[in-house]
């Protein structure tokens, strides 16, 4: 990969150049929390942030998105939407880029999703490294480093940002600044490695994932799921904030007094009681415990069977968002530590 460096005091200038590649969105502070938002001034950007309330997923799979418009006589056509709108997301953390790489798998496959794919093409990503807090476990989930899925990625090495150039578009951004970026020296590489090692040590949470599928297989009937079902409110916050939850619902809205209408998709959650409900009232996951179990199984076990890795990236958002303090790391630890009393 092409690696360069950018003097930190040139970041503002770089940000002004980058505007020609699209509308710049970055984390800004809002009531003590952070949200990705369109910048009106570069000075609003907060690049030293812990985590945004919603992940960048909201740009690629919007909470509500019109898919088709129906007009009598014409049939269904895709609306002249904003999928072609060019954006630059500035300051995306590695786990969130990793999560997009996971969504890429889901929205590709036999039936590529043209809406997601168009947005992925038209939204540039400039990543930035971060300092783990007490809710981060991306290192455990192998999502603390990304080698693709971004255009540029900045890593703090003191006076400079070491810059990974991840795409031709990223390279164009570098070239557009003419002489802003410098070549890296062996000392820069050493400094990067030193800081990367220190970051590894800074994680407070650790989850062993190698044998998780095995443990999940054994604990399918665990009482832990009943306990969680009794606590969970089925509010769906954990799905909304999760960068790799992608379930959606599809609904038609008719234009009043005509047969024209719009078909949209909107975020859904497997924690909602209707998620597996079919006509006639049969519900394949009626109890809360079966639904919260499903969420864990799909992330930590089902996704492994399908794509070779868990879909969780360890961003810690669900831990922050849950109103009843259900903590994924604690659940995984409890499953591992469960001892089954001898029955004889």
């Amino acid at each position: 990969m092409k690696i360069l460096k950018l003097p930190k005091d040139k970041l503002d200038y770089f940000a002004s150049v980058v505007q020609q590649f699209g509308e710049v969105h970055a984390p800004v502070e809002q009531d003590g929390k952070y949200v990705f938002k369109r910048l009106t001034r570069w000075s609003e950007a907060r690049l030293a942030y812990d985590r945004t309330i919603l992940p960048p997923k909201k740009y690629f799979l919007p909470p509500k998105e019109p898919l088709l418009v129906y007009r009598p006589g014409e049939g269904y056509v895709a609306p002249a939407g904003d999928v072609q709108h060019r954006l630059v997301l500035f300051g995306v953390h590695a786990c969130d880029v990793y999560a997009l790489n996971i969504l890429d798998l889901v929205f590709a496959g036999k039936y590529p999703d043209p809406y997601y794919q168009a947005r992925r093409k038209n939204i540039a990503i400039i990543g930035i490294d971060c300092v783990p807090d007490g809710k981060c476990f991306c290192r455990s989930m192998r999502a603390d480093f990304v080698d693709h899925g971004f255009d540029l990625f900045f890593c703090d090495i003191g006076g400079h940002y070491l810059t990974f150039v991840g795409s031709a578009l990223g390279d164009d951004m570098v070239l557009a600044t003419e002489t802003l970026f410098e070549t890296v020296s062996p000392a820069d590489i050493d400094e990067y490695k030193r800081r990367s090692g220190a970051k590894h040590e800074a994680f407070q949470l650790d989850v062993e994932i190698r044998d998780l599928p095995e443990i999940f297989e054994m604990e399918y009937g665990s009482a832990i799921w009943d306990d969680l079902g009794a606590q969970c409110l089925s509010c769906g916050s954990c799905s909304a904030v999760c960068p790799t939850c992608y379930c959606f619902d599809m609904n038609d809205e008719a234009v009043l007094g005509s047969r024209a209408g719009t078909r949209s998709r909107n975020w859904d959650s497997c924690l909602f009681s209707t998620h597996a409900l079919v006509a006639g009232g049969e519900n394949f996951r009626e109890s809360r415990s079966s639904r919260i179990k499903f969420r864990f199984y799909h992330k930590q076990r089902g996704f492994v069977a399908e794509y070779g890795r868990p879909s969780c990236v360890g961003c810690g958002r669900c831990i922050t968002a849950c109103p009843v303090d259900i903590d994924i790391v604690e659940v995984l630890a409890a499953l591992r530590e469960t001892r089954h009393a001898a029955t004889h």
Binding site: L67, L68, Y70, P72, G75, Y76, V77, A78, V106, F107, G109, K110, Y111, P112, D113, P114, Y220, Y246, C247, F248, D249, M250, N251, D252, A254, V255, S258, R259, A260, G261, R263, R265, D268, C270, H275, A276, L277, V278, A279, G280, F284, R285, S290, F294, Y297, H298, R301, G302, A305, E306
Partner: protein, 289 residues
């Protein structure tokens, strides 16, 4: 792995897989008070010619302004150019479908799902066991087998309904009873009319009247949960291996193309890896049945 997907030429995935193609309702047949067969033909002639499905696949059917739902294709790919959908009125979408008449247009996208593994079944006996609306997906396989009769050894059809009046495709079924290349066994739970001259008894009781060769037979089963329960019991008792029993599963579906997450069972998406599963797959996936 038993199920594979190379029988039909793949439909060129449309540029936008969410986009339905408009089709005209060319015929509506009333089957029961709440069940009708809608015969559809795409408006676009190139779609008429290019649409190819495998028995057991389904489409996503759209009623403009109302919504979309998964419906099995009841017609056989050996009878192309039209699609027959046998629909029971269940809720919003199906109710507004029932308000449409001949010549109205609906939206169709697909075909989706794996369908029955017809290449594996070739050269074997085929046993079809349907209860009630379970005939909807099985009828496609039935006619596929009858139209390609030389590809299969014996063909046995077991079909159980609540009463003679509840039998779907009744005339068609009765006409099969006169053919010598299919063992057509029809039964009804009860006959309030007194005019039924055929068998009376539950679907599983038909097993008392046949000799099966389980090692050389594939059984395709579809019906309400009670049918699965008792028919599976009889098949296992007859010595069927669990991967020679094929079943069609119903799950909530929104996208039909492996994106929306609604149809998942355990680690699989019913819309992609199903809706046809072997019994072995079914018992090995958590929450499958």
């Amino acid at each position: 792995m038993l199920l594979h997907t190379d029988t039909a030429p793949p439909l060129q995935p449309a540029a936008n897989p969410y986009q339905p193609y408009m089709a005209r309702i060319v015929r509506i047949q009333k089957m029961l008070d709440d069940t009708r067969v809608f015969t559809l033909r795409f408006l676009d002639e190139s779609m008429v010619r290019s649409f190819r499905h495998r028995p057991g696949q389904f489409v996503m059917l759209s009623i403009p302004g109302t919504g979309e739902a998964p419906i099995s294709i009841s017609s056989s790919p050996t009878r192309p150019e039209i699609l027959e959908l046998c629909v029971r009125r269940a809720g919003r979408m199906t109710s507004s479908l029932f308000r449409l008449s001949t010549n109205d247009v609906v939206g169709v996208r697909g075909p989706y799902g794996n369908g029955f593994p017809v290449d594996d079944i070739r050269g074997n006996h085929l046993l079809l066991a349907a209860g009630g609306l379970g005939m909807a997906p099985l009828r496609s396989l039935l006619w596929y087998a009858l139209d390609n009769r030389h590809l299969f050894d014996g063909v046995i059809l077991m079909y159980g309904s609540r009463s003679p009046a509840d039998m779907l495709f009744r005339d068609e079924m009765l006409s099969l009873a006169g053919r010598d290349d299919v063992n057509c066994m029809l039964t009804v739970d009860a006959d309030p009319s007194g005019a039924w001259t055929g068998r009376i008894g539950h679907l599983p009781s038909l097993f008392d009247h046949v000799t099966l060769e389980p090692a050389r037979t594939y059984a395709a089963v579809c019906g309400p949960p009670v049918v699965y329960r008792y028919v599976l019991e009889r098949l296992l008792a007859a010595g069927f291996s669990k991967d020679r029993i094929l079943m069609s599963l119903e799950r909530r579906m929104k996208c039909g193309i492996g994106k929306c997450g609604h149809c998942s069972v355990g680690y699989k998406y019913t819309c992609l890896q199903g809706p046809i599963f072997t019994y072995w797959d079914a018992i090995n996936l958590p929450e499958m049945i």
